[in-house]
Subunit: 189 residues, 2 copies
DNA sequence: GATTTCATTTGATATATGTCACAAAATCAT
DNA sequence: ATGATTTTGTGACATATATCAAATGAAATC
């Protein structure tokens, strides 16, 4: 098995030991991709069969609100990107686009998902992926309830300093829910 | 099987047909509770073994930020409340408290969770619960990214009108991330 | 390396929301 | 019912952030 696939599987198998057979079944639905900056993985309002795991690179998610891009998050190495909507055969609410030239693993959800009704290890594996995602969303919500944007800025700077090296401030400001001018002024301190 | 248990199980079994044996296994870990307004189901920073499904009543979740309650959501009939943290044996980040006298089903996570490694139907059942929760969180985040609070107010009024009948405006304002004074002024239009 | 494009910073002003103080209304407990 | 408590509404003013405009700085393209 490719070492990159191993890395993806290890990242989500947690306490559970997967048999070689299960690992092979999962790998059947994985592929490695090399794609360039600005490439769009998932388009808002479209159905897609794939989710992606970032091996190397940076990715952003955003949706359009009154014609303006609202950035919702940034994924770096070992993060998973995709849409739970897609997992349920519904159109994505977000566009997902590369911010750097990146190496990704694509996961064929359409083919992997039905296996969860046949293979309990795969069911628990998918469970782990969704659970990690839900914990991540909880953190984001907690964060978004901070009243002052200066607090949000400082926490983000503390918890995710890499973002400020790799993601344009315009996108970060949008994620924080403020204009780029305001972010610039907060930083001038 | 109690009809209320049936209602809870049906709500999450979705496409999947559960055998009577599986249903019985789940029911072993359910109980019905009648509790009064202000009763605290889950305390911030404490571990708990239970999640709850609202049969009748209203519940709020909040955490303390600089000594101030920040309300994070309100659950009504057929909603599930609890903490993913508890599901992973970690202390809850939120306090969950009844806003009305309520009837609830308690779910013993500590005992139910290990069964997901033994019974694939239970694994998929738990999967459905967590997935619905994650979709709900996604909606909340989308909502929280609305820039103007007037938009948030109007959307909430449209999508969740019952909240305004049953949940004090102070709590709703806190959830919207504005003061009660500001909410009061928005409403005066 | 020069040119174009994109990202960031700074300034002046307008607007939205917060804060504090208090009044009015609704709800609760006795 | 009555008074006490909680919830909601209104006013005056302070502050944070948005908006618009322009300058500077950095990165990509040729």
């Amino acid at each position: 098995m490719d070492i990159l696939y191993q890395r993806f599987i290890d990242h989500y198998s947690g306490s559970q030991q997967l048999t070689d057979h299960t690992k092979a079944e999962i790998c059947n639905h994985l592929s490695i991709l090399h794609l360039n900056k600005k490439h769009v993985l998932i388009k808002e309002n479209q159905r897609h069969d794939f989710a992606y795991f970032v091996i190397k690179g940076a990715v952003r998610s955003y949706f359009l609100k009154d014609g303006i891009e609202v950035n919702t998050w940034f994924a770096l190495e070992n993060d998973m990107v995709g849409s739970l909507q897609n997992f349920n055969d519904k159109p994505s609410k977000e566009t997902i686009e590369l911010v750097e030239n990146s190496t990704l693993i694509s996961i064929n959800l359409k083919k992997l998902k039905p296996l969860m009704f046949l293979n309990i290890q795969i069911s628990n594996f998918i469970n782990a992926v969704i659970e990690e995602y839900a914990l991540f969303l909880e953190k984001k919500i907690y964060f978004s309830q901070m009243m002052h944007s200066i607090d949000k800025y400082l926490i983000l700077l503390d918890k995710e300093p890499q973002l400020f090296q790799r993601i344009p401030l315009t996108y970060i400001a949008s994620f924080l829910g403020i204009t780029r001018e305001t972010l610039s002024r907060l930083r001038a301190k």
